[in-house]
């Protein structure tokens, strides 16, 4: 049913972090890799990110923070998704994330958690894999 659709990805910064140059670079790379990319803009609260993801019916939410707030904001996003029963939207993280936090985020189901300097191809392919996985869980029954 949804096989022919390009992967859809929402990029977001769930906190007080005004740096989004890298987001635009990643958005361009994902677009060049054949994906449909949305960006929620700066300072978007977790609830709002989930609302946008649902209205846009995306496969992946890509979260990025460079201000050290990832351990409070990222888990909120995945918790709200679970409350709404949306296991068909994957969450991928990135930013200034120390190894200890990476493990904790992985355990919650937030994958990737790419640090600065990660090759774009690696991020793009990871997002593609998570999108395909999420897509398989999308329900098309009416």
């Amino acid at each position: 049913m949804f096989g022919s659709r390009p992967p859809r990805v929402l990029l977001a910064k769930p906190g007080l972090d005004g740096h989004d140059r890298a987001i635009y670079v990643l958005a361009q790379a994902l677009r060049d890799a054949g994906m449909e990319v949305l960006y929620a803009g700066l300072f978007t609260p977790p609830e709002e990110i989930v609302e946008i993801a649902i209205a846009e019916d995306v496969d992946v939410i890509g979260l990025s923070l460079l201000n050290g707030q990832h351990m409070t904001s990222f888990p909120k996003v995945i918790r709200i998704l679970r409350e709404r029963g949306r296991d068909d939207i994957a969450v991928v993280g990135g930013g200034t994330i120390p190894p200890r936090d990476r493990r904790a985020l992985e355990e919650m189901g937030i994958t990737g958690n790419f640090g600065p300097g990660t090759p774009l191809d690696e991020i793009v392919e990871h997002i593609r894999a998570r999108a395909l996985e999420a897509r398989r869980r999308k329900i098309s029954s009416i």
Binding site: M1, F2, S4, R5, P6, A27, Q28, L30, R31, D32, A33, G34, M35, E36, V37, L38, Y39, A40, G41, T44, E48, E51, I52, I54, A55, E56, D57, R84, R86, K138, I139, S140, S141, I142
Partner: protein, 299 residues
Amino acid sequence: MSLLDGILSGDPAAVSRAITIVESDPRGEAARRILEVASARGGKALVVGVTGPPGVGKSTLIGRLCDEMASRGRRVSVLAIDASSPFSGGAFLGNRIRMEESLHRHGVFMRSIAARGSTGGLGGSVWGALRVLSAAGYERVIVETVGAGQSDVDVMGIADVILVVVAPGFGDLVQALKAGILEIADAFVVNKADLPGAEELARYLEEVSAGRPVLSVSAASGDGVGRVVDYLEGTRGSRRRDERAAAAVRVAVEEILREEANELMSTQRAREILGEVASGAVSPREAADRILALRGREK
């Protein structure tokens, strides 16, 4: 709750998934059922098309229109259409950024649609999405397109009322004229009215607009937006009904013919005929006639 019940009760998750289904597989069983139920419910959405050259401030204006309409008690939703890359098939759907605050403040449902390189298919999915939104109880649907050529004119064929947005020093009017977006306007909006050149632009449009309204606004500050909504509230969406039906059917017909053309072109016999065109033995037109003669015979 089933998806169909969800649509009729206006649940955003159900509306969103229904749009995905209608977009992905417009002639599949699920899409047909959704459109049947949505059409039976009907609804009374006034479809407002907003188009104009890139950079004139369409998204900012739409955010303001949402604020103003919502504050007058209307349920509003937005469909924003963006081009897909002809090279990768991907798209950057960036229209939300400039209106996110307004959308969130009033619970406006917004969906971004990538054109995916097909004007026909696009018309079909936009038409389907409009049906779903109308059935879900939205009274106003704003459809944004980038104002660049035929595909936009086609999509705008399904709008009840069309605003063409221009701004001084932007989106060269000659280009706009070439793209045919001036002809489809019901009203013109001159945005960035505080900038030099805005008054001249408005005067010029008044000369060529043949009585159609020319409304000056500053979407950034909100000045003049109320007057645009007054105009929209005063329009009767029925004026274009025949035109709209024709446009919707035409894109569907084009889509079906395009699919059939692709099928015919990939048959063994068609490939042989193509070889004769390549060698100069047969003209393209004659080849097309021969390929079309294969219809219903060879799959």
